[in-house]
Amino acid sequence: MTDISLSDHAVAGKTAPPADARSMRLPTQWLGVAPFFIFAIMFLILPTLYLMLGAFRNDAGEFTFENIAALAQPSIVAAYWISIKVSLASSLIGAFAGLAIAIAIVRGGLPEWIRSATLTFSGVASNFAGVPLAFAFLATLGRLGLATVLLNVLVGFNIYAHGFNILSFWGLTLTYVYFQIPLMVVIIVPAIDGLKKEWGEAAATLGATQAQFWRMVVIPVIWPSFLGTVILLFANAFGAIATAYALTGSSLNIVPILLYAQIRGDVLHNAHLGYAIAFGMIVITGLANVFYIWFRTRSERWLK
């Protein structure tokens, strides 16, 4: 944007290089981006549209709302509900814990190496998901996991006797938090870095207390990017399947696992219902991302 150089004029018109004479310009221009658009249309947009249209068709190919209506059956509603609960809980816990850690390492006066080590580790942990993450939590909080055993031996507290189960809502939520917190840290640290020192000084000069500074400056500035990231974390958890599948098999019926079983073996005995489930997932993550983009554009104003 800022590189206003002589070469801008070349593109602007008359002194264009001879290689692309006016008449040739339009087709060659588009040729440059054609592979990308063909790829995106064939392997991203069309397959998704195919499912979305399929959600509104019956076996005879006629338009219908039956498939969408069929989503209202109790087992599918329950699957959506537990998916939404797990995604919401893990994104909120991950967001607040991640924010606390980010504030601690950026503004807490901790040594510099802690900040860089935490950021490096967050980069790793936010990408440590899928099947191996499930293994790690089974080894920690499974019936024979280290934490379970140690709690039982040292404190005499048997978490399984007190209703905890790794193959449950809380087990899955606690596992998802492992990649949600670092993702929050990675995204929110730049936002906290964006809080300028001058703002603190200005607030102090005007007689603001530390609490007032946080309440009236920091929180309003961070708020949009925080909320935006919560939504991103939500979508992130909502579409995830590998961790849950490896952790719980099919004992916890979240939407992606239901869809997985449907794709494998038509467990719902209605191919178009599968499309409708996929459609529902796209609607939920899509809505989440619309909000995300909205919050993102609002927060970028401050974080130049």
Binding site: P17, Q29, G32, A97, A100, G108, G109, L110, L138, N289
Partner: protein
């Protein structure tokens, strides 16, 4: 601010505990295979398993092809958008973000229905076709990361001047992209490549639904049937992710700092 620092330490310690206990527990669990003594038996079993070698090799190869495909699609596009069609930037950025909106399981579901063996484009009718479709699917998953990495890299070089200089010297578009632009954004491309590798290597959903003999489904299978090997595999997977991220960090030190921006 003294109490502030105290709380910062508390938060940090709690976070460190949450993140390190599972790692320690996994290491400990992975070494419990031999009764009564810690050993690396689980690792020996894993590394000696021919299925481990085969699936891991398959996934590495898939990752390499994914990276190549990703670079082929992203680099020319990002370059062209910067050079000639900035008006398309919002559209392209929106498309590259779509894989974050559409869950992987939905994308692969679409593939299965659109490219089945009875369709006009029967990718799933042959082994090679299914492998290609997996690479394509992974390339879409990696698209948001690859595009952002390359676009950030392009921002630090003066695309227009480099292109014009190359044109004056008689270079064609192919030469410009492969011998002028690509070397200049190589570090960014490599960062994107390692991130792609980390995402692809243990991916489960797509590989499993396309019935490919990849590392992700193998992991899941071991997890369902064995006790100690999964813990060893989790540590191996963590080490791979760590390796990829460290390489990205090391590379970022060599990356040029914004050449043509005032800040």
């Amino acid at each position: 601010m003294k109490s502030g620092r105290f709380w910062a330490w508390v938060v940090f310690a709690l976070g460190a505990a949450y993140f390190f206990i599972p790692l320690i527990a996994t290491v400990e669990f992975s070494m419990r295979m031999r009764r009564g003594a810690y050993s690396f038996d689980a690792y020996k079993v894993v590394f000696g398993d021919p299925r481990f070698q085969a699936t891991f090799g398959y996934s590495v190869l898939t990752a390499v092809f994914t990276i190549i495909l990703g670079v082929l699609i992203v680099v020319p596009t990002a370059y062209w958008i910067r050079l000639r069609m900035p008006q398309l930037r919002p559209v392209v950025e929106f498309i590259t973000l779509l894989p974050l909106v559409i869950p992987a399981i939905v994308i692969v579901f679409g593939y299965i229905r659109m490219y089945g063996s009875n369709s006009p484009l029967p990718f799933l009718g042959s082994e090679t076709g299914a492998n290609a479709l997996l690479v394509i699917g992974y390339a879409t998953l990696a698209l948001p990361y690859m595009y952002r990495a390359v676009d950030t890299g392009l921002r630090t070089i003066d695309v227009r001047t480099l292109t014009e200089a190359a044109q004056i010297l008689g270079a064609g578009w192919g030469t410009i992209i492969t011998r002028v632009i690509l070397p200049n954004v190589l570090i960014a491309v490599l960062s994107g490549a390692f991130l792609t590798f980390a995402i692809v290597i243990g991916e489960f959903t797509m590989a499993s639904l396309l019935n490919r003999p990849a590392f992700g489904p193998y992991l899941q299978n071991v997890g369902a049937n064995r006790a100690y090997e999964p813990a060893a595999l989790a540590i191996i997977a963590f080490a791979i992710t760590w390796g990829c991220m460290s390489l990205i960090q090391i590379l970022s030190r060599f990356a040029p700092r914004s050449a043509n921006r005032p800040n």
